[in-house]
């Protein structure tokens, strides 16, 4: 194997340096990598993901598929790189993961897939729209955009105030959009103003995330040139992608699919494409980020 290849992605073992609750039912997991793994993972892009062996490294024994998680942050620290994922505890894989402790070694394939295309123009504007477990890649994206000094607003969908308080969007309640006050932990960390949309208005904007976006765009016409970056439940992505198409906005969506390998060899993660004849792309290899127009909604 030559260096160049290793540097693109690989199978790496890292040590868990932090593992703690993140809202109710979610955990934040931070893994530290050294050496070639550190160099490789440091190059991860927002929208890329990792395939995690959800049990102690070395004793997977081939009985369980890996589980895919979006990268929610990457931090360099000298010769090591820390990678964060934020995951919802939902089934056997994530339960096993939740049982792992700081100090444990963990095995990942990383970084995988094609991430978001970042704007080249420093005057670009970016709309970051996340719902549920679609938020973590937005945190990473917000970070990167902040580093590049690109204008950005975060949107988070929530059903109601309980969800907001207990769920992944954490303590955030923002009256005044664009005021980066006590907004969502991660958005806040990158100084990204954020808007919460709740169906019942019990928290933030009353309405769904698309309505919040429409309101925002109405109030800030200069943002109509912005690019949308979205990740979340399919109905939300569909609504956003169709809206973007209607107003001729660029819209990059980060999709999910049931994966086995995550590295493009098993054809598990097919996603149907828009257009006449039935055709598919692979979420793990061609995605998970697609142009909203590409997908058959």
């Amino acid at each position: 194997m030559n260096q160049e290849r290793i540097a693109r992605r690989g199978q790496f073992q890292g040590v868990i340096v932090s593992h703690c609750p993140f809202g109710q039912g979610y955990n934040s997991l931070i893994i530290r990598f050294e050496g070639i793994a550190s160099v490789t993972i440091a190059k991860a892009q927002p929208g890329q993901f990792v395939q995690v062996a959800c049990g102690p490294a070395g004793i997977t024994k081939g009985t369980t598929l890996r589980r895919p998680f979006s990268i929610s942050g990457v931090t360099l620290d000298g010769d090591t790189t820390c990678l964060e994922i934020i995951y919802r505890i939902i089934g056997p894989g994530t339960e096993a993961l939740a049982n792992m402790s700081v100090g444990d070694m963990i095995d990942v394939l990383a970084p995988l897939g094609q991430g978001f295309k970042l704007p080249k123009d420093p005057d670009a504007k970016c709309l970051l729209l996340g719902g549920g477990i679609g938020l973590p890649p937005m945190f990473f994206l917000a970070d990167r955009l902040a580093q590049q000094g690109v204008d950005r607003v975060g949107f988070a969908a929530a059903r109601n105030i309980e969800v907001v308080q207990n769920d992944i969007v954490a303590e955030a309640i923002v009256d005044n959009p664009l005021v980066p006050s006590k907004a969502m932990k991660h958005f806040n960390a990158s100084d990204t103003g954020s808007i919460i949309a709740s169906d019942d208005g019990s928290c933030g904007f009353k309405g769904n995330i698309l309505e919040a976006l429409e309101g925002f765009l109405a109030r800030h016409p200069d943002w109509n040139i912005a690019t949308m970056y979205a990740c979340g439940p399919e109905p939300m992505l569909k609504a956003l992608a169709l809206f973007a198409q209607a107003v001729d906005m660029e819209c990059q969506v980060c999709m999910e699919a049931y994966m086995a390998c995550g590295i493009g060899v098993c054809q598990s993660c097919a996603i149907e494409l828009a257009g006449g004849e039935r055709s598919y792309k692979l979420v793990c290899a061609h995605g998970p980020v697609f142009n909203g127009r590409e997908i058959k909604w």
Partner: protein, 311 residues
């Protein structure tokens, strides 16, 4: 004894392989997809995904599902089709430093023959693996692999079209007596047998009351099927292959070197890893190291001495 003194080499039909480890069709891409995770040069041979005459989109998703100690798949032979394979993948395969075996599938005999002929004509192709487990359209969807007459017709036709090609026939385990298709394949000219392909299974979502895979049924693979696979390899070895001098490529649930040794003791000359590559791609190289360690621990020098040595 050191590393240097142990020899993992096996004679797999006409191919002298540096070690018995091969990729399993459908789990390791068309060429170099795994290179970031696996040192491809350390494989015994590389086996491609199944190629069909026409490109195939594959089944609707959901296509795979995790089951106890294994997985189910109903990929539906999604592949780029013969033309694109020749055009795009053969140039990549030409760069491989290990023998390349191309897996061929189809729905009717002429389709197999056409693909086999074109593919085997490529210089970089060391052999073909015929996947006879796909449903046969003419015979009402029953699988070639379950009917010895169809196997004979299929393998015979391919053999006639490609008289000098190293031909491996991959058998389905969904049969009453695996020695019957094994014999049929050999009689029709197979040079080697691959076993096993996947077991037919069904997974149900109890909440939604519907099958989990869009295709309803799927093939079960992984450690869950290892005992059945070992049994079939051992039966075919003892009852058919040993006397016929036909090597077996054993697979089904292999995850580590101990599993590989078990298949070799049962009668396999080569071994393939499928499901576990999806989980731990690095295992393809780890198994090579483990096989050496086993030989050293057992004061053996040649892995090939162990083939079929189950007491």
């Amino acid at each position: 004894m050191t590393d240097k003194n142990v020899d993992l080499g096996v004679q797999f039909g006409p191919l002298k392989l540096a070690n018995p480890i091969m990729t399993a069709s459908g789990t390791c891409g068309y060429a170099f997809e795994l290179r970031d995770f696996v040192d491809m040069d350390r494989l015994g041979a590389y086996i491609t995904k199944s190629i069909t005459l026409e490109p195939r989109m594959g089944n609707k998703p959901q296509r795979t599902y995790e089951v106890a100690s294994g997985m189910m798949n109903a990929i539906g032979l999604a592949n780029v089709g013969l033309d694109k394979f020749i055009e795009e993948k053969i140039p990549l395969l030409e760069k491989m430093n290990v023998p390349v075996i191309v897996n061929v599938a189809g729905k009717e005999v002429p389709e197999y023959v056409k693909v086999a002929k074109e593919v085997s004509a490529q210089d970089c192709v060391a052999g073909l693996e015929l996947n006879v487990s796909c449903p046969n359209v003419k015979e009402g969807g029953i699988s070639f692999g379950t009917d010895p007459k169809l196997i004979q017709e299929l393998v015979g036709s391919v053999r006639q079209a490609c008289p000098d090609t190293f031909l491996i026939v991959k058998l389905t385990p969904n049969v009453t007596d695996i020695t019957v298709p094994a014999r049929a394949a050999i009689d029709a000219g197979a040079n080697a047998l691959s076993l096993i392909n996947t077991f037919m299974g069904l997974a149900i979502d109890a909440e939604k009351r519907k099958p989990i895979l869009a295709n309803r049924t799927g093939g079960v693979s992984g450690p869950a099927v290892k005992p059945m696979a070992l049994h079939m390899v051992n039966r075919v070895y003892n009852e058919v292959a040993k006397d016929a001098g036909i090597p077996i490529l054993g697979m089904g649930g292999i995850t580590n070197a101990t599993d590989a040794i078990e298949f070799i003791l049962a009668g396999a000359t080569g071994i393939s890893v499928g499901t576990n590559v999806l989980i731990n791609p690095g295992c393809l190289n780890e198994i090579e190291v483990g096989l050496k360690e086993y030989l050293i621990r057992h004061h053996e020098t040649k892995l090939s001495d162990l083939i079929g040595k189950l007491k």
